[in-house]
Amino acid sequence: MDKIWEALYQAARLIFGFDPDLVEITLLSLQVTVTATLIASAIGLPLGAWLVVNRFRYRRIVIAIINALMGLPPVVVGLFVYIMLSRSGPFGVLGLLFTPTAMIIAQVIIITPIIVSISHQAIRELWADYHDLLISLNATRLQRVMTLIKDGRRALLTAALAGFGRAIGEVGAIMIVGGNIDHVTRVLTTAIALETGKGEFGLALALGFVLIGMAILVNLAVHGLSRTERGSRW
């Protein structure tokens, strides 16, 4: 019991003392995941909208594949990216393995399907609403997608935040492709795994609290967004 109190005390000291290691790890975590979320959103949000507006032949299959990709185990994504980036792999010459870039790539692969899937669902509802008007006004494909993205931006932001939440807490894939190298690729989740293994519960807890704090913030933001949506203001 004493050990736990001691660890908690130490965690509080690290957090409120802005421990340099803790800050560095947190910032790298944010940098990797924010970048991954931005890239995944840039791909996923328009793709989600585009899948709604375009009724091409294999649409249902594409949607089924994306839904299946959503359930992809992150460790497998990590393995896949590792093979691609390893020295003998097709992208080995780029020397990206064990860099933050490799972690970003893995996270993008993990969260893009989630973002596509959530935004697709939200945009589909909006499209059902807007369909007749946009057709009647002769809106081009691009105009339709842009209108849906613009007016569905709240739901799309929710999708992006869901992606962020998933990526920031992910450990399996980035452990494999990042290697958890101190001062280079060590992020919140991998550091927690390491410190827990070493028995350094103080630091592990401090990292854990930061991670939980971020998760709560993201969830509050999502909640706030969906509430204002229902209140139908903009």
């Binding site: 909006l126 609403d129 807007y130 007749d132 008007l133 057709i135 009647s136 006004l137 002769n138 809106a139 105009q143 209108t147 007016d151 569905g152 139908s232 203001r233 903009w234």
Partner: protein, 238 residues
């Protein structure tokens, strides 16, 4: 002078859905000025006919010929749906929307939209979210949005269903004003009073067929078909 869009010739058009003919075969001509009113019981094909003329419902057979190409003609028509589509934007941006699609700069689109919004009686709520408008206000918004491109032909599908008499009166005034400025109006309604007030001619539909198309006074005073007589008496039609 821009090329005239009318007359519109419908030649043997037929709309089949789920293996059933829901409209036609039907041949007719839309021409002249004024207001044509589509009447007929529920399910008689009024909505389908309006959408087919507008070009957003594809006929299974037949020809729809404007005096200009179908693509050009579409740009000079507008359609007000039975349930108005409300964009999740401000009232002003809703009205300005068609102009934005045509590439009009935002500022000037908003100026035009504000003038029109003022005119249809939405002046006080222009900055408000359109989602919270009343039914009558939503319909006025849809009407203003349809009129902002100054269409040559305006289709309306029961625009006053579920509205109170005051909102109905406002809408009718807007329609008369548009008609007076040369917009050809084709509108479906169930409301006999409204048809009497607005119509120049009545198109009476039943079971997807155009039973008669006659000037208003003749339709109400001396309908040609037994079907229309029964409909006007309020009898249930087969």
């Amino acid at each position: 002078m821009v090329a005239p869009i009318l007359p519109l010739n419908l030649t043997s058009i037929e709309v089949r859905r789920s293996g059933r003919t829901i409209l036609g075969p039907l041949s007719h001509r839309l021409e002249g000025r004024g207001i044509s009113i589509l009447m007929g019981p529920n399910g008689s094909g009024k909505t389908t006919l309006l959408k087919t003329m507008h070009g957003i419902e594809r006929p299974t057979r037949g020809q729809i010929d404007w005096q200009i190409t179908a693509e050009e003609a579409r740009l000079r028509q507008a359609f007000v749906f039975q349930t108005p589509t409300i964009l999740r934007r401000s009232v002003l941006d809703n009205i300005a929307f068609p102009l934005l699609l045509r590439g009009v700069p935002r500022k000037s689109a908003q100026t035009t939209a504000a003038e029109l919004g003022e005119k249809v009686g939405l002046g006080k709520v222009l900055q408000q979210s359109a989602m919270v408008l009343s039914g009558g206000e939503k319909q006025k918004l849809a009407l203003a949005r349809a009129l902002i491109l100054a269409p040559d032909v305006l289709f309306l599908d029961e625009p006053c269903a579920n509205l109170d008499s005051r909102a109905t009166r406002d809408i009718e005034a807007i329609l008369c004003d548009a008609r007076d400025r040369g917009t050809r109006i084709v509108m479906a309604t169930h409301d006999h009073g409204q048809a009497r007030r607005l119509a120049d001619e009545i198109w009476f539909l039943h079971a997807g067929k155009l039973i008669e198309s006659t000037p208003k006074t003749q339709f109400f005073d001396a309908p040609q078909s037994a079907m229309a007589r029964a409909y006007l008496k309020g009898d249930l039609l087969p």
